[in-house]
């Protein structure tokens, strides 16, 4: 179940003063089971990009292939695609509408045509996966805290059993504790279910610890694509487009410059600490 984009272009409001070339000739392939981070500055086209993955936006030109099939083909089952590629929007809590949490999470499975019992089963499983406490199942979603609302919204997508989970800035507006909790939960999900996870963010720090591949977007173009170590080795270029490598990258580079025998590959604090200890023992 791989997703591939081939030479995708997207232009907003063509022919008016608001015309904007949001995606420029983007090609990429994401294999099943990967944990990918898409990173870019505000307006770099990352949100536009992910809306192409489940056919919410139609590329001005180019192809989007899901499982080898072009989703723009006549008669392609978009509904099926959308239940396989689950998309969690930015501030997903703003889409909650039901009277209680459980019913809101049931909305997705219900649209898939499942029976009431099956819906509830899916909903309970999904809420459990995101670590939402059972005692609040019957509460109004509007009375929950920000972090809890977000869990409910993410569960609303998970209840549809997607094969690919796309999250647009899932940590925006959360405090550091809520942020870490959500990210840990997502990583846990990825490990448990083996689904493809695509995480969109503008913070390197956030995703460096979790993902196995980073795609950097800049002004609608794919700028870098590779494993975190490789992407962070271009930290000078990243700075030029208003992004930054994680702070440990800078620490390691500084240490090396001052004559310490450390490798600059470390991307997480843990790795950095090990590397520094190693250099002292040698």
């Amino acid at each position: 179940m791989s997703i591939a984009l081939e030479h995708v272009n997207y232009v907003y409001s063509p022919g008016t003063a608001y015309e904007k070339h949001a995606l420029k000739d983007v090609s990429l392939e994401i294999a099943q089971g990967q944990f990918v981070g898409i990173i870019g500055h505000t307006g770099s086209g990352k949100s536009t990009l992910i809306q192409h993955l489940n056919g919410l936006m139609k590329a001005t030109s180019g192809k989007v292939l899901y499982d080898g099939q072009n989703i723009y083909d006549e008669g392609y089952d978009m509904k099926r695609l959308r239940s396989q590629v689950g998309l969690v929007f930015q501030y997903p809590e703003y889409q909650l509408f039901e009277e209680d949490v459980l019913r809101d999470v049931c909305f997705g499975p219900k649209n898939q045509g499942l029976s009431a019992e099956e819906c509830e089963k899916c909903a309970r499983e999904a809420l459990d996966l995101v670590g939402f406490p059972e005692k609040y199942y019957r509460q109004s979603p509007f009375e929950l805290s920000g972090g809890q609302k977000r869990r409910v919204a993410i569960a609303g997508i998970l209840a549809m059993h997607p094969k690919v989970l796309v999250l647009d800035e899932p940590t925006a507006g959360l405090d550091p504790k809520g942020r870490d909790e959500i990210l840990d939960q997502i990583e846990h999900l990825h490990r448990e279910t083996g689904m493809t996870v695509i995480l969109v963010s503008h913070s390197m720090e956030d995703i460096a610890n979790y993902v196995e591949r980073i795609i950097v977007m800049n002004r609608g173009e794919k700028m870098l694509d590779g494993v975190p170590k490789e992407v962070f080795s271009h930290y000078k270029e990243l700075e030029k487009v208003g992004l930054a490598a994680p702070q440990v990258t800078y620490v390691m580079h500084d240490l090396k410059e001052r004559g310490f025998q450390v490798s600059t590959d470390a991307t997480t604090i843990g790795e950095a600490a090990d590397e520094i200890m190693r250099s002292f023992h040698d």
Binding site: G15, T16, K79, G86, Q95, G108, N111, I157
Partner: protein
């Protein structure tokens, strides 16, 4: 999809019309609307068309954009045309079929009514396309200032209007976002009968209302934090002042009014040939 709605929106561009004082645009738009109703003859409409055409081409707003603004009135337009076509009687009968009769007068009225409605919307769209919401409010406030003497809260009304205008695109964008989010959850807004469709709107309307209230609350808070307390003693950073171009705009519009009035009055009514 929903973002295609352009009525009442500002279209940024560099043009003589954009640079005019908002008061001029409001008054002249009103005069233009009046002009559509004080005459009802072919020459009158020709003059109105020329005038509107000149203004549109000067404004540098794409015609496509203005035509798009007509979309919301299509149903009203069709209704008017059909009603006038079949119900107005007079002159020779052109078509007679079962209970339907189309007369010369009916055809005339329905065509003129349609043109009138279209020009009405186009004329007022040109004003909103070329005037920023802030400009519009400032202009309106200054024009209506005399009403303050009879205790009409002019500033408040103007402020409410500008907020309402400003929120149209915000709420449209919000609707678009919520719709997409629900489509991503498998919602279906396009199939089913009218009741099913109305029911399918709940997942959009509830979050939309919640968000509208939240935004209203935030805005009120932000205004209060900046010590906003109404129009009393409030000064402007850029006070409105008439310039030469504004006087010319008035002169041209008044000449247009006189011409169209004269034409409606003195040119023989029936220049319409069937």
């Amino acid at each position: 999809m929903i973002r295609d709605i352009t009525i009442g929106q500002y279209y940024p561009a560099e043009s003589p019309i954009h640079r005019l004082d908002p008061r001029v645009k409001i008054v002249c738009t009103l005069l233009f609307l009046v002009s559509l109703f004080i005459q009802n003859s072919l020459p009158g409409y020709v003059i109105a068309t020329i005038f509107l055409g000149c203004v549109i081409s000067m404004s540098r707003v794409p015609v496509k954009y203005i035509v798009k603004g007509l979309k919301p009135i299509v149903i009203l337009l069709m209704f008017t045309v059909v009603m006038n076509l079949f119900l107005t009687r007079g002159g020779d009968t052109l078509v007679h079929f079962w209970i339907f009769t189309i007369t010369e007068e009916g055809l005339r009225t329905s065509v003129f009514m349609a043109v009138r409605l279209i020009y009405l919307v186009m004329g007022s769209s040109i004003m909103t396309f070329t005037t920023s919401p802030n400009g519009l409010t400032d202009g309106l406030e200054k024009l209506l200032r005399p009403l303050n003497k009879i205790n009409v809260p002019v500033h408040e009304v103007a402020m409410m209007m500008s907020i309402a205008l400003r929120f149209i695109p915000i709420l449209l964008e919000e609707t678009d976002k919520i719709m997409k989010a629900q489509i991503a959850r498998g919602a279906d807004f396009e199939s089913g009968n009218i009741i099913q469709r109305a029911k399918a709107m709940t997942p959009i309307l509830v979050p939309l209302f919640v968000s509208a209230f939240r935004r209203a609350n935030d805005l009120a808070m932000a205004m209060e934090a900046r010590c906003y307390n109404g129009g009393e003693g409030r000064t402007k950073m850029k006070p409105l002042r008439y310039k030469a171009q504004d006087r010319w705009a008035y002169v041209i519009t008044v000449i247009y009014m006189i011409v169209i009035f004269a034409v409606g009055r003195f040119v023989p009514f029936k220049l319409w040939i069937f």
